[in-house]
């Protein structure tokens, strides 16, 4: 078979195979992966491989275990994806062959992970037992296990794990109220730097794309903790403190997420826990700039890649709605209701389209971002997170 024949046959097989859902029998087509991505189907332990230029699903990969709250990172070559499952599973997928390359169960209960800047280490954040484990990205053999015992002696769940330049990972200790940075040299044990007394119950964290500001949300004291990682001596600093003070805290039926957060040119737009508000933090002064009233308890506040808008979804029972904040005016300029249980949204790398998962409608919508119109619907079984391969080239999560 000549080259062209192979390519044509491969593509046809891939599309047919996708429809029939039999990943093993396909011949992988010769193609790039820059327009590919994955949709987590949380109840069935499967993922859909999607193609964003054609707005289609190419096929389904099954057998990934419990994927509630699953998240995904990508290898620098964008061919492999690492799926972090709730059951402690770490699965390496091959996007081209649409199959599981390797799968291990590394802990009892995990909550996401990160990949090092050089693409060689994959770190997993664990609830049960707490702490992080770090694996060789090629073979998934264990490189290090760092239990998270805080100064108060408590074994901690670890949250808000993201990569930093120089083979480092930063994460927060939920029960102990600490932030740790683990640095991996070429060999030997990792060096761990600890920041103590960062606040009560950090529930998630993330870092700005310049690797400068790490923030963790504090569930126990309605505020955030900030570390300036450009400083030679980073100091623990509380920001946006006491936003619930003097008014009732609305019950939080779902924890907000800081993954894919609302970073714009000058500000961070963050979910309040306990108010129907998005909080604007001025990155220059580290002071609160505004509280923007929104439709419900925000879950994700995701900046359009150019930072011109921030799109929000909400927790139960306001979770049928998406709102758009205009960044220059810091006002909500548009609201719409994609359907029941909007769980996640992911922009294409340059932000012309957005993929929105509508769990209880068993669908993912693809929208034109500027016209705010729907372009396609992708059937999916209880879809939750959507992760495009272009994340491979983004720092943080």
């Amino acid at each position: 078979m000549n080259r062209r024949g192979f390519l044509g046959a491969g593509l046809a097989a891939s599309l047919l195979g996708g429809a029939a859902g039999r990943a093993e029998e396909r011949t992988p087509p010769l193609r790039g992966t820059g327009s590919l991505g994955l949709i987590v189907e949380r109840a069935t332990g499967s993922v859909l491989v999607i193609e964003t230029m054609q707005r289609i699903s190419l096929g389904r990969i099954e057998g990934l275990g419990d994927l509630s709250h699953a998240s995904i990172v990508f290898s620098p070559c964008e061919r492999y994806a690492y799926v972090f499952g709730r059951d402690g599973g770490l699965t390496k997928l091959d996007l081209l062959e649409m199959r599981i390359e390797k799968r291990i169960v590394q802990g009892g209960n995990s909550i996401g992970g990160a990949i090092s800047d050089d693409g060689r280490l994959v770190a997993v954040s664990n609830y049960e037992p707490g702490g992080i484990k770090v694996f060789d990205a090629g073979t998934l053999t264990e490189v290090a296990s760092i239990p998270a015992i805080g100064a108060n002696g408590l074994a901690s769940k670890t949250v808000g794990l993201v990569d930093l330049p120089g083979r480092r990972f930063v994460y927060s200790l939920y029960d102990a109220g600490e932030i740790w940075i683990a640095e991996f040299g070429e060999s030997g044990a990792p060096v761990v730097t600890k920041f103590l007394n960062v606040g009560l119950l950090p529930y998630d964290g993330n870092v700005t794309s310049d690797a400068r500001h790490y923030l963790a949300g504090l569930f126990g004291e309605d505020g955030f903790v900030h570390l300036d990682l450009w400083s030679a001596n980073p100091k623990v600093e509380r920001v946006l403190q006491g936003y619930n003070a003097g008014r009732g805290k609305i019950p939080v039926y779902k924890m907000p997420h800081l993954e894919g957060w609302g970073q714009t040119a000058n500000d961070l737009i963050l979910p309040a826990a306990g108010q129907h508000e998005a909080l604007v933090l001025d990155l220059e002064t580290m002071r609160e700039k505004k509280r923007i009233p929104v439709h419900g308890q925000p879950i994700f506040c995701v900046a359009r890649p150019d930072g011109r808008e921030v799109w929000l979804n909400f927790g139960h029972p306001q979770n049928d709605t998406v709102q758009i904040i205009d960044v220059p005016t810091l006002e909500v300029v548009h609201s719409f209701a994609p359907g029941p249980a909007v769980l996640h949204l992911e922009f294409t790398p340059r932000g012309h389209e957005v993929w929105i998962s509508v769990r209880d409608a068993d669908r993912v919508d693809v929208m034109d971002v500027r016209r705010r119109t729907k372009l396609a619907e992708i059937p999916a079984q209880k879809p939750s997170g959507i992760f495009l391969a272009a994340r491979a080239h983004r720092l943080g999560s």
Binding site: D66, R86, L201, P251, Y253, K254, H316, G339, D360, A376
Partner: protein
């Protein structure tokens, strides 16, 4: 495009009815698996919230668990569900958690 205003409206209605705490068993099961599951895990074996499997709840009676579901655990992320879940439904959830929650 395959979606219509009608299916959209139906979906929206379904979500509103679901949120209003209808006592249909199926809705309750999916509420627990999905919305409690976001903290306790879809399989309820625990996440940020503690395990809700029978073994973990053995030494708490259904009344205590019902009260926790309705009023939450102050100082922790466990929210009060009163207003979204009726006392009868909370009791039904508590009893079924202790026995092993339906799929």
């Amino acid at each position: 495009m395959r979606f219509s205003v009608a299916t959209f409206a139906a979906a929206l209605l379904a979500s509103i009815v679901g949120a209003a705490g209808q006592s249909s068993r199926e809705k309750l099961v999916s509420l627990v698996r999905e919305d409690c599951g976001s903290c306790h895990g879809l399989t309820l074996k625990g996440g940020l919230g503690s395990s809700l499997l029978p073994g973990a709840l053995a030494n708490k009676d259904a009344g205590t668990l019902t009260a926790i579901i309705l009023d939450g655990v102050p100082g922790t992320p466990m929210p009060p569900w009163r207003g979204l879940i009726s006392p009868e439904d909370a009791r039904w959830i508590a009893e079924n958690l202790k026995e092993g929650f339906p799929k």
